[in-house]
């Protein structure tokens, strides 16, 4: 095969190239349509008007949705996508393995909870606040505190290389969870903090927009995601982004080119943490109730799985990964319901929980292994990272 035909085939296969070859107005129009469709995703009209068959009675067909809680699942996907985007800056861009990323989510969520809840001990016991703050005002504080904890954590550890960072970050997330669980003087342990504030806004009829209904939360998180994507894209294409790539590919060489590596690693850490904190504050704004049970280690691992599954270093990959790790088990459950998948099997007198939700780590484990064998660069890889991976494989097993 000549290189010409190979190129042609690749061109045909590569959606990204074809998209980029379109004239600019067409590209913008396509993006706008796509975004509008995203906003419509949890509404029934989306499925009716686009010709998806809807079964008799009510609800959605579970073959492509997750049933009546679609908006809720999409909201959860949303804040996981944010988390994946944040970790992607740390792991995908700067190449730093952070195993406790959910810790920043916890910092964001607790900040919002403490400041917005009328039952927060800051109000009831310590009189630091006279009355609860509005949610919107607490979000910047949540972001700033998450960022600060990122800097405090990164300051001593980012001077070290390799596995130390993974260990320290793992410890960080666990410390936050355990402190939240066991101490009583402010975070209230397992009893948690109730009546957390919601985002502001009312419908024309005077009803608050952000209440029990999930759809507005989904719209909110979607809007935030779009903003974060723009921010990260600009960063990645800047001098900062190039420094991150250099650090990730060869830290010594980067330093020898005059890149202040420690400073930029710390920046990556702080920016990632800020996005994690933002995600936590959005979640808290919906959750109404924040306690330590939310912040178990498996969440950090799930975010990590999302980034690796999607393709580290790629924004599209982080979004795809964040979406899949949440959506897939929910979808499997609803499909399972349709086909009568049991939630429990009995072996002797032992009941084994086999619902897709509780099996999701088994499913992801298997999926990750399969993806890492056949597509180690992830489902939606970053081209540069794919090239680096090839280079590393060459080092392990030189091809002559």
């Amino acid at each position: 095969m000549t290189t010409e035909t190979v190129k042609k085939q690749r061109w045909k296969l590569n959606l990204r190239d074809r998209f980029q070859d379109m004239p600019k107005p067409a590209r913008i129009a396509a993006m706008v349509v796509f975004v509008v469709l995203l906003y419509l995703l949890p509404t029934k009209a989306f499925y009716e008007n686009l010709g998806f068959p809807i079964p008799m009675g009510s609800g959605y067909l579970p073959l492509y949705t997750t049933g009546s809680d679609m908006a809720g699942v999409l909201f959860q996907c949303g804040y996981y996508i944010l988390l994946a985007l944040g970790l992607n800056v740390v792991l995908g861009y700067a190449g730093l393995l952070d195993l406790g990323f959910f810790g920043f989510f916890a910092v964001g969520a607790y900040t919002v909870a403490l400041l917005t809840s009328p039952e927060s001990k800051l109000i009831t016991e310590y009189n630091w606040l006279e009355s609860p703050w509005p949610w919107l005002l607490t979000v910047p504080i949540a972001i700033a505190l998450a960022m600060l904890s990122g800097v405090l954590l990164g300051w001593p550890t980012l001077r070290l290389r390799g596995d130390y960072l993974a260990i320290v970050t793992l410890g960080f997330a666990e410390i936050i969870r355990i402190v939240a669980k066991n101490q009583d003087w402010i975070l209230n342990g397992d009893r948690g903090i109730p009546s957390v504030g919601h985002p502001p806004g009312t419908w024309p009829d005077g009803e608050p927009i952000f209440e029990l209904e999930f759809t507005p939360y989904y719209w909110l998180v979607l809007t935030v995601i779009i903003g974060v994507i723009f921010l990260i894209r600009n960063l990645a294409n800047s001098r900062v982004g190039r420094a991150w790539v250099a650090i990730r590919e060869d830290e010594d060489a980067a330093e020898l080119m005059g890149v202040p590596t420690f400073k930029f690693k710390l920046w990556a850490f702080a920016i990632g943490a800020a996005i994690g904190g933002l995600s936590g504050s959005l979640w808290a704004g919906q959750a109404n109730f924040v306690n330590s049970a939310t912040f178990s280690l498996e969440n950090s691992i799930l975010v990590l799985a999302a980034v690796l599954l999607g393709g580290a270093g790629s924004i599209g990959g982080a979004i795809l990964g964040g979406f899949l790790v949440i959506y897939l088990p929910e979808w499997l459950r609803s499909v399972g319901d349709v086909f009568g998948w049991p939630t429990q099997v009995q072996v002797g007198n032992i009941h084994i929980d086999v619902s897709p939700t509780s099996l999701r780590f088994v499913i992801f484990g298997a999926l990750l292994i399969v993806v890492m064998i056949y597509r180690p660069q992830g489902l939606w890889p970053n081209r540069r990272r794919a090239a680096e991976l090839k280079d590393r494989q060459k080092e392990v097993a030189p091809v002559e």
């Binding site: 330093e255 020898l256 080119m257």
Partner: protein, 236 residues
Amino acid sequence: MLLEIDDITLHYGRIQALHGISLHVNEGEVVALIGANGAGKSTIMRAISGLRAVSSGAIRFNGEDISKVRADLRVARGICQAPEGRGVFPGMSVQENLEMGAYIRRDSAAIAQDMERVFGLFPRLLERRKQAGGTLSGGEQQMLAVGRALMARPKLLLLDEPSMGLAPMIIQQIFTIITEINQQGTTVLLVEQNAQQALSRAHRAYVLETGNIVKEGTGADLLHDPAVKAAYLGVA
């Protein structure tokens, strides 16, 4: 004197790698450091470029002690190293690698000029301009590493084993270009195991053994020194 190293020691943990090294490089020179594996050649380079902190002693560049200055700031002062094992960025294209070399600079017109100059020195890099660094051959990667270091417009170019793992013909090429770079006005300090090439190209040279400098002299002198001949040139 462009670079003056004054009695430096350096430790890796408890192991002392350098035992009071002193050497200097004058402006416009090519100076070679030769010695066996583990003699401390690369360690000296790392101390000069700042990847490793010295335990004691001074490193003076243009008269200023830089031994406490961060590595990235030493680049700004005019010291640039092409690292051992080439250290090209594997996922970046040849052009991006070169742009990375000019990271500390903001004068884009002059950067473009320098890139043309590097492509003039290494026409192979021009051919491979868009190709990822990791896909180049060993010789091409070495060319890229040297070219990338030049992009910082260093006053002092540090080359750590530019001949490592290369075929004899390519080694010849690389050294010819090093001489050319020097004649264009860049001072060069290079570390080599290939003593023959290094000594015949260098104005002066130092011989290093287990963290100590045991001999110094002009390249030609050392090339004919019986002890050096026996130990490093494979001639009895």
